[in-house]
Amino acid sequence: MNPFWSMSTNAGRKRSDGEEQVGQGEQKSSPARPSFGKKQLPSIPKNAVPITKAASPAPSTQSANGTHASYGPFYLEYSLLAEFTLVIKQKLPGIYVQPSYRSALMWFGVIFIRHGLYQDGVFKFTVYIPDNYPDGDCPRVVFDTPVFHPLVDPVSGAGVRRAFTKWRRNHNHIWQVLMYARTVFYKINTMDPLNPEAAVLYDKDIQLFKSKVVDSVKLCNSHLFDQPKIDDPYAISFSPWNPAVHEEAKEKMFAHKRRPEDYNKGLPVSGLSWVKPGSTQPFSKEDNPLQT
């Protein structure tokens, strides 16, 4: 199973494992509905405690963008989900990313560098997305281990931001940030460096730069099996190959790529169509049962 899929469907509805067990019956499984049951009304509280905000006049409840503030978190959550599905769609080579358990605003990722100066580098990073997304600044990419690179801060590991001086909704997307983060390892750019030493070396002494990169890659890779820096159930962690654990997972990954819902929903649903492709006439398919 592609981990991205499970992420994309779960990201909006996270629970701890324990809650999953308890809560699922209540919330996950759609309650038996009457035929008109679509309209869900909340139930009545026994003694409805007035909400503190109840007194506030109606106009003030309209937030700046003309909508109820109470739905703001839903919009943010879905904006981030949309970003995440965009990332999936791009299929960025060598980049894996998943939102954290605790917050949709923090994504864990890893880049595999397949050739060039940084060949064989495996760099873990975290993406921090501002909470006023998409109206805020560019999401920050911070490498777990500050790899030696002109555009990566040698202390904090922060990098990449340069390409998106101003973040514009509708134009900028998180996959672009990720792609940029990958590209800087293939095409070295020394403008406005966050690591001046690396920038200077690259321009002046490429051999020394290369050897420092090799050392840095080795260092990064030597920390590969470290515990994730941020304690989060969805943080990306590596462990040495263990056939007992990994063989089966690998087989599953290669066996079939199916969306998790297809596993769960039992019988395949199928609609009906007798429209011949390329036609817009109903019942235009030739293999119709004949009726005269």
Binding site: I44, N47, A104, M179, S273
Partner: protein, 929 residues
């Protein structure tokens, strides 16, 4: 023999015979037979010519058999034979197979001596009464059911059986007693079970049947008269036939025989017509809310139960039968039931009859599942013309009829839409959307756009009437769910949503809505999101079999504009446009105060010409098809009622029409910006005129909010360029030209303006397209026009309407999705969007609320009533055992429609917003299959 059959059970006899060696059994059998033969020969007039009495002598009926009798058989001899035979049969039944499947010695003897045939002839020689038949039938039933070795492979067993069956077929059904029929069907059923287990016997039956002459494949022919029989006999017969059907799917000869030489298909199909004719032509409608036949309804009607049994049998036959049988059957159903029976029934005399037929049709479609049968029903609805009008068009036009015909028709469409059938959706919806005439030209490229930031959802939710705002009326919490909008634990970032269940109901603090932060979250919205996700992914999976994505590119709009559409309309659907004469043009709600209207608004002398034309032809056509045959008087009355309603609305309508014409005349840029969005404002404006004196301030503020939103919307339309970046995956380029990616293209310095579809850029196309009015089709129009009347609709009508729209909103096809859910789309002036209609409803509700001081209390009470309704409905199904049903404190009378509508409207907005949000995720996931 009778006593044996009646009393004997296999278990008893097994005990008796256990341990007895086969040779002894054989000796006993032979001895018995020798005794029987003595008696038989004594009464045999021809003595030695045993075999000569075969089939050629017309064993077809009881009547001709008297000639074989040779004086009466004394009673003691008859009973002696009976006793011997009784024992012999048990010995035969209990005999095991010989080695390597060879016959056991008794069976071999039976075959050699032709025992069974001679016994059959013996029974013919005596009075061949029903009792005799019954005896023989039971004998074979027992033999076949219980024998331990296969018997039917042997002609000396098979032949007398066929003779017996022949004798049963000869008598016209009705003359045989029901006991014989019951036994006959039981035996036939048993034979079919044997056939199903051992298809090789089928051939034998087939050829032995041939030996019998005309009655080819006797088992099958004998079963046909019982197809539509009620009760267990009919059920057994249908089960047996299904077994043969399944066999015939593998056996071409049998299939061919069934199709060519039997009346199976015509009997089955015309039987439906017969059963249909005994259905009640008018249903007793239990309540005003009633709109479709549920199980508990139809189970009360034996005739309907019987019809459904036969229909389900057709469904089952089509499922298992050979394609030739299947095709023949659906053909007969179409030409023998749907066209001659159901079509006229759908155009019956009275409203009640038509409504009843519509409810039947809905039930029938819900009862069948086989694609081929659905195909038949659907092509009947979509393609068949009655009085030159397509059934579909008639059904659509009835959505807007008063009384229950309208709601029953709605329920039928709910069923149709739920089939996820491309053909249905094509005719109902997509046909009109494919040319993209309903939208501004510039908007076509925006069709597939993803609403990344939930802009549409926000706009839907912003339509929540102020009186229903969650901050004004705290929505009670469902099972005390609460939502935590938590800040991240380590402080470096903001957290996200977590939902917690407060399990203890007594937990008073659970009532607090605000936990962890200042942000209030509507918990019920999570449920809507979850439901929307389910509906959409379900629908997406179902639509995988469709032929096209309906995304504004495929099918290509150009090919279906004007000419093609015109042609299609002329050839396939004449009068479709004309039939659409409902309220789709009355942009204004019908509840405006008519007196005020007449005072304040100058009524134009004439509506625009093309509308007049449209109206006239529509009424002509509709009336024409009914008045020409004067017996359809009552339907005319129905339509007159609608026409009156129309006339009543006409003042408002005419004004609106006038406006739209003005719109078209005004300069292109102005009209094209405002067209899509003007109506809510216009209406508010007109509303305001009506209620200015009382509620000026409130309305004014709302107007400002609306205005701001309008400005914002226009702003939002300037930036749909994201589609470009979404469409092309950069990774395609990356592999070859890693270094060539220009990241500057992502930076704000790049001028994007020229990529934008400008709402100013296109002219209204009305000039070039003559008087053709952009149109989203009668179905969508009538739905929206009924939705616009939400405040005055009854609760159940609104539930149906919003339910159907929610069904439609689940469809992933960009043409439909964008029409319903993209609030930023700019449509042609004559096209009303869902958003516009909702805005109109919002304003009506605001006005109701402003005019009624008790409105807030009524709203809360109505919420409680609806909750009680839901919990009682759900209590019926199961689930809540511990919870007593909620009893609302005050019951809001159902005629306070505007109050219920306000509650429902608020919930509907959430539902739509949830659909919009889930589409922004799901519809854009790449499909892996």
């Amino acid at each position: 023999m009778t006593s044996m059959v009646a009393n004997g059970t296999r278990g008893d006899q097994s005990l008796v015979l256990k341990g007895v060696d086969p040779e002894t059994c054989m000796i006993v059998f032979k001895n018995h037979w020798a005794q029987v033969v003595k008696i038989l020969e004594k009464h045999d007039p021809l003595r030695s010519i045993v075999g000569g009495l075969g089939g050629g002598h017309g064993l077809g009926g009881g009547g001709g058999l008297g000639s074989f009798r040779f004086g009466p058989v004394p009673g003691d001899e008859a009973s002696a034979v009976q006793n011997y035979v009784e024992h012999m049969l048990f010995l035969l039944m209990e005999e095991e197979c010989g080695q390597n499947g060879a016959m056991g010695p008794i069976l071999e003897f039976v075959v050699m001596e032709n025992v069974l045939e001679r016994l059959f002839i013996w029974s013919l020689r005596r009075e061949f009464t029903d009792d005799m038949k019954l005896e023989q039938l039971k004998m074979y039933e027992m033999l076949i059911g219980q024998a331990r070795q296969p018997l039917l492979h042997h002609k000396p067993v098979l032949k007398p059986l066929m003779m017996l069956l022949s004798s049963c077929s000869g008598s016209p059904s009705g003359s045989s007693s029901s006991a014989v029929e019951t036994e006959l069907v039981l035996l036939l059923n048993q034979l079919c079970c044997v056939l199903a287990k051992d298809p090789s016997v089928l051939e034998l039956f087939f050829h032995t049947s041939e030996d019998q002459g005309a009655a080819n494949f006797l088992i099958f022919s004998l079963l046909i008269p019982f197809i539509h029989r009620e009760g267990s006999v009919g059920q057994q017969a249908r089960d047996a036939l299904l077994l043969i059907m399944a066999l015939s799917a593998e056996n071409h000869v049998v299939a061919k025989h069934i199709a060519e030489n039997t009346y199976f298909c015509p009997v089955l199909a015309t039987g439906l017509s017969g059963l249909y004719s005994s259905l009640p032509t008018k249903l007793d409608v239990p309540s005003e809310e009633w709109h479709c036949l549920h199980r508990e309804d139809w189970q009360q009607l034996p005739a309907l139960v019987q019809f459904l049994n036969s229909l389900e049998f057709c469904n089952a036959v089509i499922q298992v039968a050979h394609p030739s049988t299947r095709d023949q059957l659906v053909g007969y159903i179409h030409n023998g039931f749907l066209v001659p029976v159901l079509a006229p029934a759908l155009h019956k005399l009275t409203l009640e009859e038509v409504m009843t037929t519509t409810a039947y049709l809905d039930l029938f479609i819900r009862s069948i599942s086989e694609p081929a049968l659905l195909h038949t029903f659907l092509s009947f609805i979509l393609l068949h013309r009655h009085d030159n009008v397509h059934i579909l068009d008639t059904l659509v036009s009835r959505i807007n009829t008063p009384f229950q015909l309208g709601t029953v028709s709605l329920a039928l469409f709910r069923t149709l839409i739920g089939l996820f059938c491309e053909d249905v959706m094509l005719q109902l919806v997509f046909k009109y959307l494919i040319p993209c005439n309903h939208m501004m030209l510039s908007q076509r490229r925006v069709l597939r756009e993803r609403d990344c930031y939930s802009v549409s959802a926000a706009k839907f939710l912003a339509l929540t009437p102020s009186c229903c705002s969650p901050e004004v009326i705290p929505p009670p919490l469902r099972k005390l769910d609460s939502i935590l909008w938590s800040k991240g634990t380590d402080g470096s970032h903001i957290g996200t949503m977590e939902s917690k269940e407060v399990l203890s109901e007594e937990d008073d603090c659970g009532n607090s809505c605000v936990i962890g932060s200042e942000i209030y979250l509507d918990v019920s919205y999570l449920h809507y999101l979850y439901d929307a996700q389910n509906s959409i992914s379900h629908c997406m999976r179902a639509c995988r079999v469709w032929s096209a994505p309906y995304d504004g590119e495929n099918p290509p709009p150009e090919e279906y504009q004007r000419n093609t559409l015109e042609e299609a309309d002329l050839t396939a659907t004449p009068g479709l446009l004309e039939l659409e004469w409902d309220d789709s043009y009355d942009a204004c709600p019908t509840q405006l105060h008519p007196e005020e209207d007449q005072e304040t608004r100058p009524i134009p002398d004439e509506p625009p010409k093309h509308i007049q034309e449209l109206r006239r032809t529509a009424i002509m056509i509709v009336k024409g098809s009914y008045i020409e045959e004067s017996e359809f008087q009552n339907d005319v009355m129905v339509y007159n009622l609608v026409a009156q309603k129309d006339a009543h609305d006409s003042a408002a309508k005419q004004e609106m029409l006038d406006e739209s014409v003005t719109d078209q005349k005004t300069t292109n840029s102005e009209s094209s910006i405002s067209n899509g969005l003007s109506s809510p404002l216009d209406e508010m404006d007109s509303k305001k005129r009506g209620s200015q004196s009382n509620h000026k301030s409130l309305e004014g503020e709302d107007l400002v909010a609306q205005y701001e939103e309008l400005i914002r919307t226009l702003g939002a339309q300037h930036s749909p360029a994201k589609t470009d970046s979404e469409l092309k995956s950069p990774t395609d380029l990356m592999d070859e030209e890693e270094d060539e990616i220009d990241f500057n293209s992502f930076s704000p310095e790049t001028p994007e303006a020229e990529k934008l579809p400008s709402p100013f850029g296109t002219k209204p196309r009305s000039g070039s397209r003559g008087h053709a009015v952009p149109f989203t089709g009668p179905f969508l129009s009538v739905l929206l026009s009924r939705l616009e009347n939400m405040p005055s609709n009854s609760l159940h009508v609104n539930l149906l309407l919003t339910g159907i729209l929610a069904q439609l909103a689940a469809y992933p096809q960009p043409l439909l999705r964008s029409f319903l859910l993209n609030t930023n789309m700019v449509f042609q002036p004559s096209v009303r969007s869902l958003y516009q209609v909702l805005a109109s409803v919002k304003n009506q509700i605001e006005q109701c609320s402003a005019n009624n001081k008790d409105f807030p209390e009524l709203l809360t009470a109505a919420q409680h009533c609806l909750l009680a309704r839901e919990s009682s409905l759900r209590g019926q199904t199961d689930r809540i055992k511990t919870k007593p049903n909620i009893q609302p404190k005050t019951v809001v009378p159902l005629n306070k429609t505007e109050v219920y509508a306000a509650v429902l409207f608020t919930e509907f907005l959430k539902e739509l917003a949830a659909f919009a949000q889930e589409h922004s995720i799901l519809s854009h996931l790449p499909t892996e299959q």
